[in-house]
C-alpha cells in the first residue's frame, strides 16, 4: 500500500504533487502540481490536448501515474487504483459517455448501488433501500420513464444525464466531470447545470472540464488553466480569464 499521511493539507481536498503522465514522447501531464480547496466548483480549462482529461484519468485511477503523488483529503497516493477511488472519496464521469450499453437504465444505476463484497453480492437481490435510492436518482435526472430501455437506445443527452445520475448514486466528497456540458442542447444544458449546482449545494466538491466559457464563468468558483500538461494560471475566474498569458494560449484573441 502506498497510502501515507501527507503534510498538512491546508484545507485542500485534492492536491497533485509533480504528477506526470507520458505517452511515448508526448508529455500529456508534465510534473503538474495543483491544489483544489474543499467545496464549490472548480473548472479545468485549456486547449485540446492540454492534459485535462488525462489529469482526470490519473485522479480516478483509470490511467496509472508515471510519477508524482496525488493527495486526496490528506491521504497521499503514489499509485491510484480505480477500484479504491470511491473509498478515498472520488468518482467521475467520462468524456465519451461510458454506460453499460446492453443493460437497462435501471440496471445501470442498480449496479453501482450494490454491495461491493463478492459473497454478500451473490446472495443479494434488489434491496428495497437500493431500489428507493435508484428511483430517487432516476426521477431527479428525469429518466424514470426510461428505466426499462437499454442504455444504448438512449439519446446523447439522456446518456449524459444517466451517467451523471450514476455518479450521484455514490456518496463521495469529490465529483469529477469530464465535459458534462459538451454536445447538449440548451434545455438539457440547464438541467445538467441544475444537477451540478444541486450536488454542490449538498457540500460536495465538483471539478469539471469545459470548453464553454460562459458556463465556466457562471458556475465555477475557481479555475485552473492547463497548457501542454502544465499549469498556466489559476485562481479567481474573471481575473484568470483576463490574464494575457491565458488569452494568448487559449482564447487566442
Amino acid at each position: 500500500m502506498t497510502a501515507e499521511i501527507a503534510p498538512a493539507g491546508g484545507g485542500f481536498i485534492l492536491e497533485t504533487r509533480e504528477v506526470s503522465k507520458h505517452f511515448g514522447a508526448v508529455k500529456a501531464v508534465d510534473r503538474l502540481s495543483i491544489s483544489i480547496p474543499r467545496g464549490g466548483m472548480t473548472s479545468i480549462v485549456g486547449p485540446n490536448g492540454s492534459g485535462k482529461s488525462t489529469l482526470i484519468n490519473l485522479l480516478s485511477g483509470t490511467l496509472p501515474l508515471d510519477g508524482g503523488m496525488v493527495i486526496i483529503d490528506g491521504v497521499g497516493l503514489k499509485i491510484v487504483k480505480a477500484y479504491e477511488t470511491p473509498a478515498h472519496g472520488i468518482t467521475r464521469t467520462f468524456q465519451d459517455v461510458r454506460l453499460f450499453d446492453q443493460m437497462s437504465v435501471w440496471d445501470n444505476l442498480m449496479v453501482v448501488l450494490t454491495d461491493r463484497r463478492l459473497f454478500p453480492a451473490l446472495k443479494e437481490r434488489a434491496k428495497p433501500a437500493y431500489k428507493r435510492r435508484a428511483r430517487e436518482i432516476l426521477e431527479s435526472v428525469g429518466m424514470w420513464e426510461k428505466r426499462r430501455s437499454l442504455a444504448m437506445d438512449l439519446s446523447y443527452g439522456q446518456r449524459k444525464l444517466l451517467e451523471i445520475g450514476r455518479v450521484m448514486a455514490l456518496d463521495v466528497s469529490i465529483y469529477l466531470f469530464d465535459e458534462p456540458f459538451a454536445g447538449l442542447f440548451p434545455k438539457m444544458l440547464e438541467r445538467v447545470k441544475g444537477i451540478l449546482k444541486d450536488i454542490r449545494g449538498r457540500g460536495h466538491t465538483i471539478i469539471f472540464i469545459s470548453h464553454n466559457m460562459d458556463i465556466v464563468r457562471e458556475l465555477s468558483d475557481r479555475i485552473f488553466v492547463l497548457d501542454s500538461g502544465t499549469l498556466l494560471a489559476h485562481g479567481e475566474v474573471e481575473e484568470v480569464l483576463r490574464s494575457p498569458d491565458v488569452i494568448e494560449a487559449y482564447l487566442g484573441a
Binding site: 453499460f100 450499453d101 443493460m103 463478492l118 453480492a121 431500489k131
Partner: protein, 351 residues
C-alpha cells in the same frame, strides 16, 4: 441481464432469468426456433426408438451443462474462453483415475494407481480439481482481456490436451482409460441407461439453478457491467479481477462436473475427447443458442447434438465423410446465424 423495477411478478423474473429477456421471448423467431429444435428432437427420438433417445438425451444434458457453464463466462461476463474443454478433461480424468477398476488394472502391466473410490465421492473431487487448476491459471489469465484472453485460453486448451496425451503414467496417453466405473450407491448401480439419464438431468438441473441464482443476483449484474465496460465499473469501487476470477472458477467447476459425468457415462476416455475443436464447438453452441441466456445454451446443446447425430442418417452421404460434413454444416449454420441473427436462437446480446 434484466432486472425489473416493479419486482411484482416472480414468474416474470424467473422467465427472464432463464431466457435472458422477457421482452425478446415474444419475438416470432424465438418461438419458431424453440419449436423447430424441440419438435425435431422429439421426432428424431421417436423415429430412432427409446434406447437411442436415452443416449441422445444424456449427451444433450452433458453438453448442456458445459454450454450453460461456458455461457457464464462468454455471455454473462464477456470472457470468450476457448479453453473450457481443458476443465472438462480434468474432470473426466479425475473421475477415470480415482474410480480405477482394480479387476481391470491388475491384469495390466502398466496399471494406473488403484484408488477404486466410489463415483459419488469422486464427483466433488472432479469439481475441486477443475476449480484448483482454474484458480492457478485464472490468477494469470486475469491480466488479459478481449482478443488476448481468447489466445491465452486457446493456449490452455492446447496445454491441457498435451498433458492428457503425454502424462502416460497418469492418463495412459493415447491408449485411454477403459472400464471407468458407473455410479453406485451401495449395491444399487446406475448401470441402466435411464437411471444415468436421470442422474445427468438432475445435475443439469442443479447447474441451471446455480447459474440462475448467480446471474439474477447483484453479483451477476456486476458481471454484466464487466462485459460492457470493465474500466467504467472499476471506477465505482468494484475489484474487477476478483469478480472475473470467481466466475472463472465457478464455471470451471461446472465443466469439471460435466467431465466426471461424461467419463462415467462413456466408461472410456482418451485425449481425443478433449481436443481444441470440442471447445470451439462448445463456443459455437453458446453463441448459436444465445449469449446471456441459460435456456439458449440448453437449446443450443439440443440443436448441436441433433445436428451431429442426425447427419449420420443422411442417406446419400458416404460414411467416411460424415465427420467432416457435420463440421461443415455446423460451420455454415453458424455463419448464417451470425449474418442474420447475431444474438443467436433465443439470445439478446451480441458479442
Amino acid at each position: 441481464m434484466a432486472t425489473y423495477p416493479h419486482g411484482n411478478s416472480r414468474l416474470r423474473a424467473l422467465a427472464a432469468g432463464l431466457s435472458g429477456s422477457w421482452r425478446m421471448s415474444r419475438s416470432n423467431f424465438e418461438l419458431w426456433a424453440n419449436l423447430l429444435v424441440i419438435v425435431a428432437a422429439a421426432g428424431f427420438m421417436l423415429w430412432r426408438g427409446t434406447g437411442f433417445a436415452i443416449s441422445l438425451g444424456t449427451f444433450v444434458a452433458i453438453w448442456a451443462i458445459l454450454a450453460v457453464s461456458l455461457n457464464l463466462l462468454v455471455g454473462y461476463t464477456g470472457l470468450l474462453s476457448v479453453g473450457h474443454v481443458g476443465f472438462f478433461g480434468i474432470g473426466a480424468y479425475t473421475m477415470a483415475i480415482l474410480t480405477s477398476n482394480p479387476a481391470y488394472e491388475q491384469l495390466r502391466t502398466e496399471a494406473l494407481p488403484i484408488f477404486a473410490w466410489p463415483f459419488f465421492a469422486v464427483l466433488p473431487i472432479c469439481m475441486a480439481m477443475a476449480g484448483l487448476v482454474a484458480i492457478a491459471i485464472g490468477v494469470v489469465f486475469n491480466r488479459f482481456r478481449d482478443d488476448i484472453f481468447v489466445l491465452v485460453s486457446f493456449g490452455f486448451a492446447v496445454i491441457a490436451f498435451n498433458v492428457f496425451l503425454n502424462w502416460e503414467g497418469l492418463t495412459r496417453g493415447a491408449f485411454g482409460i477403459h472400464q471407468i466405473a458407473r455410479p453406485a450407491i451401495g449395491p444399487w448401480v446406475f448401470d441402466d441407461e435411464v437411471e444415468f439419464l436421470l442422474l445427468v438431468v438432475f445435475f443439469l438441473g442443479l447447474v441451471v439453478l446455480a447459474c440462475w441464482f448467480i446471474v439474477t443476483s447483484s453479483f451477476g449484474r456486476v458481471l454484466a457491467a464487466i462485459r460492457e465496460d470493465e474500466e467504467a465499473i472499476a471506477v465505482f469501487g468494484y475489484r474487477v479481477v476478483h469478480y472475473k476470477l470467481a466466475i472463472w472458477v465457478i464455471s470451471a467447476m461446472m465443466a469439471g462436473l460435466a467431465g466426471g459425468l461424461f467419463a462415467s457415462y462413456t466408461t472410456f476416455i482418451d485425449p481425443n475427447s478433449f481436443i481444441l475443436l470440442e471447445s470451439i464447438l462448445l463456443v459455437s453452441i453458446v453463441i448459436m443458442g444465445g449469449l446471456s441466456s441459460i435456456w439458449g445454451s440448453i437449446l443450443g446443446a439440443m440443436a448441436f447434438v441433433l445436428l451431429e447425430e442426425g447427419m449420420r442418417f443422411v442417406p446419400f452421404l458416404p460414411t467416411e465423410f460424415i465427420g467432416q460434413a457435420r463440421q461443415v454444416v455446423l460451420g455454415l449454420l453458424l455463419v448464417l446465424l451470425m449474418l442474420f441473427r447475431p444474438q443467436g436462437l433465443v439470445g439478446r446480446y451480441k458479442l
